[in-house]
């Protein structure tokens, strides 16, 4: 099996590699210049809220669109099932697993604004997905 010696020349290898890498760069930069969501409106508060989310590493226990740690629930659409009062209560007093992280009131307001913003970008509940004929998922 491995007795086949160097049947592919360097030139051929460089050519194939260059093609793949060129395609990759085209893919990358076309994606950068044409990001998936365009008409969105992110308020300054939501932007700050995102930094609060990252500062306290909420993502280690929670997911957004199913990505994150798995000790706690997915929060992509939590603002459509809980109101601001309930959310504030959760964040302030924690739960059995969730620690009290001592966020300031402003941080909590911004965070909830961020979660509302996330909610407006789509749905992550698998019950709402449709699987299309070509095999991809549509929401």
């Amino acid at each position: 099996m491995f007795k086949i010696v160097n049947v592919i020349t360097d030139n051929q290898k460089f050519t194939v590699a260059s093609i793949i890498i060129t395609l990759f760069l085209c893919y990358t930069f076309s994606l950068f210049s044409n990001l998936p969501q365009k008409n969105y409106d992110t308020s300054a508060m939501a932007r700050k809220g995102k930094m609060v989310w990252q500062k306290y590493n909420c993502n280690a226990c929670h997911q957004i669109y199913g990505l994150g740690g798995y000790l706690g629930p997915d929060l992509t659409n939590v603002t459509s099932i809980r109101n601001t009062k309930q959310l504030t209560a959760f964040i302030k007093s924690g739960t059995k697993s969730m620690p009290v992280l001592n966020l300031t009131d402003t941080e909590i307001e911004c965070l909830i604004e961020f979660l509302k913003n996330v909610n407006s970008t789509g749905k992550s509940d698998p019950r709402t997905f449709q699987i299309q004929k070509n095999g991809t998922i549509h929401q």
Binding site: M1, F2, I4, V5, V7, I8, D10, K13, V16, A17, I20, I21, L23, F24, Y27, T28, L31, F32, L35, P36, Q37, Y40, R47, K50, W53, Q54, K55, Y56, N57, C58, N59, A60, C61, I64, Y65, G66, L67, G69, Y70, L71, P73, K96, S97, P99, N117, V118, T121, G122, K123, S124, P126, R127, F129, I131, N134, G135, T136, I137, H138, Q139
Partner: protein, 437 residues
């Protein structure tokens, strides 16, 4: 030129050993995390899960990265028959990495986060790591010398080294509001970079494994065979285009999903095939001489097979809908990072520090069996959560987590067994060479 002589190259070995140390630390954090799954709120006042998880994940990811660097730097010298281009650059790189990694772990303890999955540290730390990586590139390229007529593992190393830097930088694009203002855009680019980054370190590790196989079998043509290059090019295609399977359920461009759906999991099939064919070619005598490395390479082959099976299932969107966001994903990640990446790196470690003792064989089997139970427990927990997710009327999240606790308990116990076995495997690597057979 006699490239296959084992010499003592101290610093590359130090990279591997520091990696092994990080692995040991990471295992303890992993176990603590698993304990927090079954004893809710366990030590949460001191160190709760948002600290434990990054401590675990960063430690083990740095094990893989340092191990990969160590393996490449040792083998590139054996391959080229030359000493490393610059020992000083290497020392600088080593200390930059050590200081950064220690600072990162300490910062987690104090709850200082950048808050991005996997790279959860403050973005400032990315700077020294990036610089250290550039030193690595310089050292590697200079030591290699010529690009002419190189075997496949050199191609893999080069690809891994360059793409790691590219994707590492890409993963910090979120610092620009253009990329991060919208969460879907942000996550698309984030997972694009992560998907390719994992592919990059795989290239480094697979490259070293193929070198090691050539060395064990004494058959250098492995590095030049058509199938090896076929593996390399499919690997490169996967690395560049297959990242979309992480974000099937994100409302992002459809074409991203189509592309990664079409680019299947061929890379894993091919590496499995190479190891399998190679095992048939290794003579009993040579096998015996490298028995521990040989075992770990074979174990990785088995885990490639299992991971492939799960990965193919998970990349069918109709199944991904259910498994996404559950512990099936965790099974996939840990199955691959332990069973494939770590086992291949252990094979390399036992080549660079040849050791054997009477416990190793037993520890090897316990590690594999407990990893299997560990993996299955996570998959069952994931399937149960998937069923819950699809229910019209769901019980509360906390009730569901209570219901699947038995699987987390078996996850914890098998994890503990895995750790004990790995300890017996890792310890000899820190001892002076004495029992080589």
């Amino acid at each position: 030129m006699e490239p296959f002589i084992n010499k003592k190259y101290s610093y590359p070995g130090l990279f591997l050993r520091t990696g092994l140390l990080l692995l040991s630390i990471g295992l303890i954090f992993g176990l603590t995390g698993a304990l927090q799954y079954i004893l809710l709120g366990f030590i949460k006042q001191y160190i709760s899960f948002e600290k434990i998880r990054p401590l675990h994940v960063s430690s083990v990811v740095f094990w893989i990265i340092l191990g990969a660097i160590g393996s490449v730097l040792s083998y590139v010298q054996q391959h080229s028959g030359k000493k490393l281009h610059s020992e000083i650059l290497l020392k600088i790189q080593f200390y930059i990495f050590c200081v950064s990694i220690i600072s990162i772990l300490i910062s987690y303890f104090f709850g200082v986060f950048g808050g991005r999955e996997y790279w959860e540290f403050n973005p400032l730390f990315a700077l020294p790591i990036g610089i250290g990586w550039i030193l690595f590139i310089i050292n590697f390229v200079k030591t290699l010398g010529s690009f002419k007529n190189q075997p496949v593992y050199v191609w893999m190393w080069l690809t891994g080294i360059v793409f790691f830097l590219f994707t590492f930088l890409e993963s910090y694009l979120w610092l620009f509001p253009y990329f991060s203002d919208n969460v879907v855009n942000d996550m698309t680019i984030q997972w694009k970079s992560y998907g390719s980054m994992v592919g990059s370190w795989n290239q480094l590790i697979y490259g070293s494994s193929i070198f090691l196989m050539a060395k064990i079998s004494g058959d250098k043509s492995i590095g030049y065979s058509k199938i090896s290059f076929a593996l390399y090019f499919t690997g490169l295609t996967n690395l560049t285009f297959n990242w979309g399977h992480h974000i099937y359920t994100l409302p992002t461009h459809d074409y991203i999903k189509h592309i990664s759906y079409i680019i299947s999991m061929t890379e894993l099939i091919l590496i499995g095939r190479i190891i399998y064919k190679w095992r048939l070619t290794v003579s009993e005598a040579r096998k015996h001489f490298h028995i521990v490395s040989f075992r770990f390479l074979s174990a990785a082959d088995f885990w490639v097979f299992l991971t492939l099976l799960l990965a193919i299932l998970m990349s069918i969107p109709g199944i991904n809908v259910y498994t996404h966001g559950t512990h099936v994903t965790v099974a996939h990640t840990m199955g691959a990072t332990i069973g494939i990446n770590s086992f291949l790196l252990l094979a390399v470690a036992f080549d660079i520090f040849p050791r054997n003792n009477k416990y190793l064989s037993l520890a090897f089997w316990i590690a594999n069996i407990s990893l299997l139970i560990f993996w299955i427990s996570l998959i069952i927990a994931g399937i149960e959560k998937a069923k819950w997710q699809m229910r019209a009327i769901q019980s509360p999240f906390s009730t569901m987590m209570m219901d699947i606790k038995p699987y987390f308990i078996s996850f914890f116990i098998s994890g503990l067994a895995l750790i004990i076995a790995l300890t017996f495997i890792i310890l000899p690597l820190f001892k002076k060479e004495n029992t080589r057979k």
